[in-house]
């Protein structure tokens, strides 16, 4: 199967993630969309690794997974804190700071 198809899938996933970040209002869902974008980049890395015939891209994918896990730790901590003090995880409710 043509490896370029995987690139199309990755671009599609990235776009879905990016649109989701902009459109969705729940902080958790926004965060999940960011994770989707990171995984789209991962898929692109692995596909390019296959196309180029070396392993560098796959190594990057592992690093990305670790970094994404760290990001989950920090991100959920922040989202849970803000949920506890506001009883809402909507990014629209958090608007004390002027636009």
């Amino acid at each position: 199967m043509n490896a370029a198809n995987y690139l199309y899938v990755s671009a599609l996933l990235f776009t879905i993630g990016a649109v989701g970040v902009v459109v969705r209002r729940n902080a958790i869902v926004v965060f999940m969309c960011v994770e989707l974008m990171l995984n789209a980049a991962n898929l692109a890395f692995v596909t390019f690794s296959r196309i180029n015939g070396n392993l560098d891209g796959q190594v990057v994918a592992f690093f990305t997974m670790v970094v994404a896990a760290c990001e989950v730790v920090v991100g959920l901590a922040i989202i849970v804190t803000i949920y506890r003090s506001r009883r809402s995880a909507s990014v629209d409710d958090a608007s004390l700071l002027k636009r």
């Binding site: 990235f14 902080a27 974008m37 980049a41 190594v59 690093f63 990305t64 990001e71 003090s85």
Partner: protein
């Protein structure tokens, strides 16, 4: 299959390893030491770590082996200068962070809850902020010396993640502070996804993740240009977000305003140095031969960033937001240095980063001093008449503002002049004209604040300036002295920077 042992070259990595070791010891102290003894021990440990790292960076400035960890990092002249700058700024801002007035007593407690009040009465402090600062500093040290895509991405996250948390630790107006942390985190993660996607396409273009490999592919012109363009565009989005350039600036006013002022000072100064350091390395070495593809776009971004930052700052009624928009304008001036793409541009940018970083820390340190009974007052109207009540604080703040504006005899003038002349040399005339225009606009709102402080009568609900603690006083005085010295007698530093400002490819 034969397994070869990687050669790490610990000498070059040592400053980063020292800072990381200090951070890990700091985490241990959090676990094992009693609450009362933690603040002083953590402060000494953090300061000591940063000072040792500073000495170590200085000692290895003339090392013969340039790359370490199998080509993952490059330690050349600019890397040395940027690491020195980051460490000096961190040391100055640590004194500000150590002032316990700035942080909440118990970050996990609900704002306004009984637990929070109890912790405040006991005089607890979030000493976690010290190890977090050290982790962020380690990421910042790694970011401008990274020379492959993995290291670059890991360093970017390493410097960002602690800052997201630190933004939410303010003592007063905690809801606003938590909101700033949420916004910073979501937008930061969004931009790093763009960054990573761009990195993937650069890898797809050249088949290699090392900067040298990507550069050679660009010089050779062998790969698929579409991949290269996607890669440059998406990677630039990630970097421009970190430096707060328009149209990726939306986070910065909110985060600057909501975060504890000490963290804002550290973040505004040190992150900018690290991010521009990486940006300079990437554009000057990796993308230099693809200048046709990014230079026009970056020029447009520089122009709108400078003009937007200056214009919007005029309308601000809040000191911290005004400084945030001014930092957006300064990001535009610095992008001008990236566009210049010559040696003069590189040394000018490094000088500018140093001068701007120090003045920023000083200006935010002054903001922490102006308070009323409820805490810091950042509303500009209530700063009216400050010059009559506390002439010293107002004078020093006015001086920092003049340095931001780039008035002669301040460090800002020399920085701006050298960046604009470097960009002019390389033919980016439209950017220089926009830069000079926006400097004039910016001077207007800086001077308006000075007029407000000295020549306007104060209101009824006037603010008082607290007597600064020893720690804050150190921050203010050191940054003031450096800013004055750079303005009056910059020649030694400029010579020093010129000697080192050559990228090794």
């Amino acid at each position: 299959m034969k397994f070869t042992t990687p050669v790490l070259d610990y000498a070059i990595l040592s400053p980063i390893l020292i800072v990381l070791a200090g951070a890990l010891i700091g985490v241990m102290i959090e676990a094992f030491l009693s609450k009362t003894r933690r603040p002083i021990v953590q402060l000494i440990l953090t300061l000591g770590t940063l000072l040792i790292a500073l000495v170590q960076v200085f000692r290895i400035r003339n090392t013969t082996s340039l790359s370490a960890a199998m080509g993952s990092v490059i330690f050349d002249g600019p890397a040395f200068l940027l690491q020195m700058t980051i460490l000096i700024i961190s040391i100055i801002s640590i004194f500000l962070i150590a002032d316990n007035e700035n942080f909440t007593a118990l970050a996990a407690a609900l704002p306004g809850s009984i637990e929070e009040q109890e912790a405040t009465c006991k005089g607890n402090q979030v000493t976690e902020v010290y190890p977090l600062t050290l982790f962020a500093v380690a990421g910042m040290l790694l970011f401008p010396i990274a020379s492959d895509l993995i290291t670059l991405f890991v360093a970017l996250e390493m410097l960002s993640l602690p800052l997201y948390l630190m933004a939410g630790l303010s003592r007063r107006r905690r809801l606003m502070s938590q909101e700033a942390a949420l916004k910073y985190f979501l937008l930061g993660a969004f931009s790093s996804a763009f960054f990573l996607f761009g990195a993937a396409y650069l890898y797809g273009y050249s088949g290699l993740i090392s900067f040298a490999g990507i550069r050679e592919s660009i010089v050779g012109g062998t790969g698929n240009d579409v991949f290269l363009l996607i890669g440059i565009a998406f990677l630039s989005v990630g970097l421009l977000f970190k430096v707060g350039a328009v149209p990726f600036h939306a986070w910065s006013p909110d985060v600057y305003q909501g975060a504890p002022t000490a963290v804002t000072a550290f973040m505004a100064a040190a992150t900018k140095v690290a991010a521009f350091g990486a940006m300079l390395r990437i554009y000057y070495t990796v993308f230099a031969n693809a200048q046709w593809s990014w230079s026009p776009l970056l020029s447009v971004i520089a122009i709108i960033t400078m003009l937007f930052g200056s214009f919007v700052a005029i309308a601000q009624r809040d000191v911290k937001r005004m400084l945030a928009y001014s930092s957006i304008a300064h990001a535009g001036f610095l992008i001008t240095g990236v566009i210049a793409l010559n040696k003069a541009g590189l040394s000018a940018s490094i000088f500018y980063l140093f001068a701007y970083g120090i003045a920023t820390v000083g200006a935010f340190a002054i903001v922490t001093l102006v308070r009323d009974s409820a805490g810091e007052v950042s509303d500009l109207n209530r700063w009216a008449g400050l010059g009559k009540r506390s002439p010293w604080v107002a004078t020093i703040f006015a001086f920092f503002l003049l340095a931001f504006a780039g008035i002669p005899l301040t460090s800002g003038f020399i920085g701006k002049f050298s960046i604009f002349s470097a960009a002019y040399e390389s033919g980016a005339k439209s950017v220089v004209i926009a830069g000079v225009l926006s400097s004039a606009i910016a001077a207007f709102f800086y001077i308006r604040v000075i007029v407000l402080m000295f020549f306007t009568d104060s209101h009824e609900d006037a603010t008082t300036v607290v007597i600064p603690s020893v720690l804050t006083r150190i921050t203010v005085i050191v940054s003031f002295v450096i800013t004055v010295a750079l303005g009056v007698y910059p020649a030694p530093l400029i010579d020093f920077i010129n000697k080192f400002a050559i990228f090794i490819r």
